[in-house]
Point group: D2
Chain length 380, copies 4
């Protein structure tokens, strides 16, 4: 339903890049769930641009204001409204080229859909800035998942032609160790192999200095999901995660586990043998990424998303003047990222959290996020 995702636990988003504010409403959280504003801020900070030649010079404070649904550090059980004010807007940058459709962008499709009434300033509702609302809402769900023992993290599998060590899909213990490494990094790119960080940054800056941009691949792992979550067919784990992953405008592909590699395997190679491990059923390999028939089997869920290069580049491009209805050259102004892949890692983590939160709530009601707690009544 347009700007709402989720049936049992839902996020509704709103906002335009240069409007007054962006934000969302998160609906379906139980009462009494801790909300750590420091954790929200830390997630927002991972998405934030730094004006360091690697990301856009537009730097926003991105302070998430909780307008409702949270009191004394806990959810009240009602809808949580989140607002992030837009402050550093320079709409004038866009006025000059407002009629020139930026290739790879939604300028033309916005005209087709909104007939010229769209807010085109800074990309309007299509701006990557709106993903801040996904992180704001997703981080609250992510915090609840973490407390329930479910971990989600994303690293840059490939960017600017340079690859990180892949996740250890078939070795749950090794994968858990990799996740720990990623979560212990408190700054810098989300990489398993620290030695590729500088070459990657150099390659991004090089593209940026040419007025160009680069793409990449993100890899996300979800640990700790119990077996039995998800539905066969329409509400499969893959369906809901991919639905959310493609909500991020730059994502153009997703694969789970062995993904496109399955095409060249035989069944005897592709099947994940079951075996007992103590009293638990586990699989020897994890080609299926912890999902059989759309439902979790208790092994890690791992997926990879393809992120296209930022379409906003400074190089001159051929395009069309939509009003004059004629071909025209375009030199983009404004402030843009030469590469959004590093900033997009936390976005993928948060959209996965929203999908997983919805799946868990559909399966268990809100019981999964409620902790046994004595009666409390603070600070009224």
């Amino acid at each position: 339903m347009k700007n709402t995702f989720g049936s049992a636990l839902a996020l509704t988003i709103f906002g335009e890049s240069h409007g007054r504010a962006i934000g969302g409403v998160l609906d379906g959280m139980a009462a009494g769930v801790p909300v750590d504003e420091g954790f929200i801020a830390a997630c927002m900070d991972k998405r934030r641009a730094r004006g360091d030649g690697l990301s856009t010079p537009r730097v926003e404070a991105d302070k998430v204001q909780l307008l409702s649904g949270v009191m004394n550090g806990h959810t009240t059980g009602t809808a949580i409204a989140l607002m992030i004010e837009n402050q550093n807007t320079r709409s004038g940058d866009y006025a000059k080229t407002a009629d020139l459709l930026r290739p790879g962008h939604a300028d033309y499709t916005a005209y087709a859909k909104y007939h010229g009434f769209q807010d085109a300033r800074g990309g309007g509702h299509f701006s990557g800035r709106i993903t801040a609302a996904l992180v704001a809402g997703g981080s609250i769900v992510l915090g609840a998942l973490n407390r329930a023992g479910i971990d989600i993290t994303t690293h840059i599998a490939r960017c600017a032609g340079i690859s990180d060590t892949p996740f250890a899909l078939d070795d749950a213990a090794a994968l858990a160790a990799q996740v720990s490494v990623l979560e212990s990094r408190d700054e810098g790119f989300a990489l398993l192999d620290a030695s590729v960080e500088e070459p990657m940054k150099t390659a991004i800056r090089a593209a940026g200095s040419e007025g160009d941009s680069v793409g990449g691949i993100l890899e996300t792992a979800i640990l700790g999901l119990p077996a039995g979550v998800g539905e066969p067919y329409f509400d499969s784990v893959e369906s809901l995660i991919s639905h959310m992953a493609f909500s991020v405008p730059a994502v153009k592909g997703i694969e789970f586990g062995t993904g496109f590699g399955f095409a060249d395997l035989k069944g005897s190679e592709a099947n994940d043998a079951f075996r007992m491990k103590g009293d638990s059923v586990v699989t020897a390999t994890n080609h299926n990424a912890g999902i059989n028939g759309g439902i979790t089997n208790g092994m890690p869920v791992v997926f990879r998303t393809a992120v296209k290069p930022t379409p906003s580049i400074y190089k001159e491009q051929e395009t069309v003047d939509y009003i004059a209805k004629q071909d025209a050259p375009l030199s983009i102004q404004g402030r843009h990222d030469p590469c959004i892949v590093p900033r997009a890692a936390i976005v993928q983590t948060c959209v996965a959290a929203l999908a997983v939160g919805d799946l868990m709530t559909a399966r268990y009601g809100t019981a999964w996020m409620e902790r046994p707690t004595s009666y409390r009544r603070e600070g009224l």
Copy 2:
């Protein structure tokens, strides 16, 4: 919502492989839309097994019975109930190995979710047989889309290690010609290059004769979609199509247009330049597969789905006896496909039709499927 997909035009499915019937309810069609039972049957026939060594020896008539919502060859405007009776069931094949979890299958996840109450006969609700309900419902929508000038077709891009000619992503005219070729083929595999059909069949039979199976890649093209369909973020064209594509249990990856190839492109290579073509805005290339910011731009939508090898193989496999809670070898009985890729082509076409039908209806109401028509009142 579990077994329902779509908000404006919705399909609800039901059924188990060895139950009395499978089927669905298609809700949201306008009144007066022609329903061609011959076209439904032709789509069902493309999905049907033939007992020819390429697909399962279980051959079902797959006659789609329309229980409601259709009269005199036209929709009445109310919900259309579809029923396909199961006839050729041999549940005894499964009894012997009922406690042995088939690797790559949903046996274990079904236990985790349904606690032993699942109908496990023939895979129950997880059987690929349920995709017949997707084809039955999808083919009605596909017929309506066709009449509105929207064409959807799928070919086998790769199977058993052999590739077909890819769709001409960047050349809309050439792509339209390819689609015509595919639609003029009235039997055999959905291939652009007829010369690969026999080698592909030979490779599939070879895997089958070893008690093994093979996977592949399907490629789907959607032509004729107007610009302006879809929503930014959650209800993007990619989100809804991928949601449906992953509803098919064997699909483990999807990419739109250049997909994972974007990771190694620069923005200047990846952007699709706009240009005027007469009075229309078109793009010079089509890396973005006709979708910018989640919304169609009028160019063809092309996507590729990774299909894993059939998990049901006759080779002995290692697994677990779920009741005895111990490791055990498994030799699968029953009747299975050495390769489902050829039969899955029409399934991808139909699930895409369901997603596109929902998107069109969200955008235009039911107006897109209503034709100007004189008052009619036949055969009451």
Copy 3:
């Protein structure tokens, strides 16, 4: 969403009066819930016409066929498809007057919406016969609610100008005793005061013999709902129950507890004082019908629905020939009830069960319908 009600536990319905079958798909039941076909049949039987001068001479067997989702007397956890075949159809009765819009019926609105493509035979999708699908689906949920200690029952509060004893709104114990009395009646009208049954039947038959019909009021009680079910505002208990109650075409009014009587009370009279009863909080009166702020407070939920007289009457009426576009007299043929109130009692009970089942599932997931059960695996 058109023919689907419920978000956590949903029923989708389909069918036309003289089509091949009517039915529904019930989605969201947990696995392992007992399904008693005898109970379903007993509920269907209460709705069934008897050809006794009190209801329509069209008598249908109304055998509910479970096509999926139930095995060995228990739910499997997948969607439950229900089908009731239409057998006793006499479409010829309608042909003669097909263009004459029956007053009080949906003939004209069907034209306005379906442009002549509607299945008009026997009222088509608008026939009261479709309520059989509500009873079929609702009775499965009602059975689950009963096992969870939640009781729903309906009596005829007033019909043909004759009133039954009202429910003891303010005395929970007395109300429970009334419910027991109603549930112990295995035939006849659902009345608390048996002495009004014959006068009521006589009055109905009298109206029928004049070619006329009568209306009435139904009163429904829901006992055993825990406190804390429902949501403030949009998903209030009153909102969901009324949404379902008005789904039954003849219902034109609903009131909860004191209902319209509140208009003439003062707050000091209308408020239900809280008091302790052992360790429980109860209310001294129950004007609010067990609902405060849209959420249950643990007291009985009681509501009354106004049922209009059957619009199909044999008396000549003034109407319009829709095709000729001129005024015309109408003498209705076909087979109709002089009063549907007695048959509608079980329908109100079942639609309330569907609303309550959805509310319970939204609150508790499926946990409320799952019983602690040892592992079972019968009859595979």
Copy 4:
């Protein structure tokens, strides 16, 4: 879905009485629809308290801030976020009696549902103040409906024991005249008979001076709805309007047209005869309130809602101390309305607008709200 109503045109609400802000997100408006902030303010003003002894002394500015989705006085086509800041809060009034459950209020049900984590200040999310978000969102839809020729208005049919002239249900022309009278009144109570205003105010003040409160009945008329809107069964016009009407916490009953009066009519009296009026089909009477089989027939839709007396009264009441688990007397502090009926009139109008807007959009897509317009591009 909890805090969201509507499928094609949806409003999501949030907020607590003494939190930072209340508001909502309106999703599904077409681009280019005029948004008149003066009209929104005028609707808000009708709901606003005045501190005049007739309503609560808490007077809020209730300025609706549009955070997104509106630019240059027109919708942009994206979600419209609305925020109303809370300013005049005196939470201290509530602290003293925080553990004493106010009879008729949601204090106890909030405990049952939220386990003590609810924001109880000023009623929190249960406060009537949240209806300001319904008016803010509903007034935007109402403006669009008005431009499409659909009029919705509400008057006080009865309050404090005094009745206004009822709507002329059976005379469409007379009803339209009544609606004009109501809409021309720019202040005072929404009454057709101006002579009852002073007696009504006197009766309300009298109740207030006794520390008590009074209830009433609102009557709402919807003119100009085309025939063919709504769905049979679950999405009937009555179902959606009643769903919304009961979202307002004080509403405990609703009836359409003749409503509960149908119970004592015969079919020959209750049916509305069709007749031609020029080329149009109309009905001679309008007992069914413009709705047959859940679908509009083009005649006015009229319904009445029962509003209970404000539960917050100053008279001492018996209740329970929830923490001490013992009976206790309660004298309510805080600022409350002796009667909310006059302020609730615009709320009923606005919730009806939301239901009708959703029904229209489900029927026509957004076409009904789009005006043919030349290309426009102001003030970018």
